[in-house]
Amino acid sequence: MRRNRIGYFIKEGVESIFTHGLMSFASVCVIVACLIIMGSFSLVALNIDSIIDTLESENQMVAFVSEYASAERTAAISADLKAIPHVSRVVFVSREEAWESFLKTYDNTNMFDGLDASTLQDRYVIYLDDISQMEQVRDAVRNVSGIAKVNAHLQIGAGFVKLQRVVTFVSISLVAILLVISMFIMSNTIKIATFERREEIAIMKMVGATSNFIRWPFVIEGLLIGLFASLLAFVMQWGIYTLISNNFLTNTGLSFIVTLPFSALAVPILIVFIAIGFLVGVVGSLAAIKNYLKV
């Protein structure tokens, strides 16, 4: 493509944004609104996912050491447990520590007079990196020599797994539906903008413009509108998220909800917003002028 032609396409694309200012403004507004709706929902889903992850990581199983196990065997169990797949961390709790901890849960400990730590057993608290593997890990722990009993809350674990799956499924489905709806709305907005200019396209065809010659300024215009809208949406999303996580949750007594910092999500959100803005701008423009090029 010749240089003066590229310059012409860029100049035409940029000029067109301003000469059709109202439609450009409408397109930017629609893209920004759709991106913020999608972005907000994704951020809520990511935060729910993160909260579930935290709860999952706090879920644990307890393996009680047999009272017949020697001190050497008791110490060696730690390595055996760590060798089991999906065990992320193992903490030894002696019977004395367990007893102290037990007593702390009661205000009145007089009723336990006459009892001591020997009524309890040494134990290992086992943390998993994947809660869905709880049953398999429990079975493996049971087979470790020196383990007498394993307490694992399989139902709670399964509940978390199910909840996470549901949240993932619902969020992906909703984001996909919102994306399709947004594409439809944005494409229609661009179509209306292009409909206004069908006469201009017809004149271009009449004087012998090739379809590509007509297409390029529209593509550049759509691209610039899409990029500008995605950057604007990103800044607004940042502001809304920060406002809600810093002020709204605190003021409404929901401060116990720990939200992910926006800085941790900023880069992927920016990339996704720019990608969608680019896609919508370019594909929307191409789809919108397609029918007018068939003359």
């Binding site: 010749r2 000469t19 017809a202 009449m206 004087v207 012998g208 413009a209 003359v295």
Partner: protein, 229 residues
Amino acid sequence: MVQLTEVFKSYDNDTKALRGVNLKIDDGEFVFLVGPSGSGKTTVIKLITGEIAPTDGTVMVNGYNVGTMKMSKMPYLRRTIGVIFQDFRLIEDKSVFENVAFAMRVTGASNAEIRRRVPYVLELVGLDNRTKRRPSELSGGEQQRVAMARALVNNPSLIIADEPTGNLDPARSLEIMMLLEKINELGTTVLVVTHEKELVNRFSKRVVAIDAGRIISDGMDGYYTYETK
């Protein structure tokens, strides 16, 4: 050269717009195409400019076979034709200069060529002092002259004027027709579609009359012999 041979054209709604039209226009000719509304004049123009393809028959324009050529080649046919419409069809948000320059840009002309050629053509149509104006700032006659400059700028071998004086007063109409005659004298083939009997008779050119999709007269005597009923 334009040659329509046994051309039939039917539209989807079963309207038979042309019924076996034969028409040959040689290079350098000046031809008036006359006929009542719905007679098939617009269909003839659309066939020549490649907007539609014939249902049957052959349409040859400047060496291109309109019925069989690929859509991707259509712009190259259109660059050999300059079209002038009754409603001018100028791009409102471009200046007079840009409206004319645009037709050159699509052919890949350089900025230097455009800067050289456009002022020359605008001078030819008497608009060299209106280059920066927008179409809405011009009179009807001036807008039509911009359209003529645009049609001329690529030095086409054929100019088609579809009711070019339909929106103009008699004095401006005469001006436009005289400009077309001047263009024809410079060697460009001119085909003018019009209803205006007075104007046709004044210029003593070849007159082709069409009605109900058939050519009903083709005379070199220069008179609008066909009368609408």
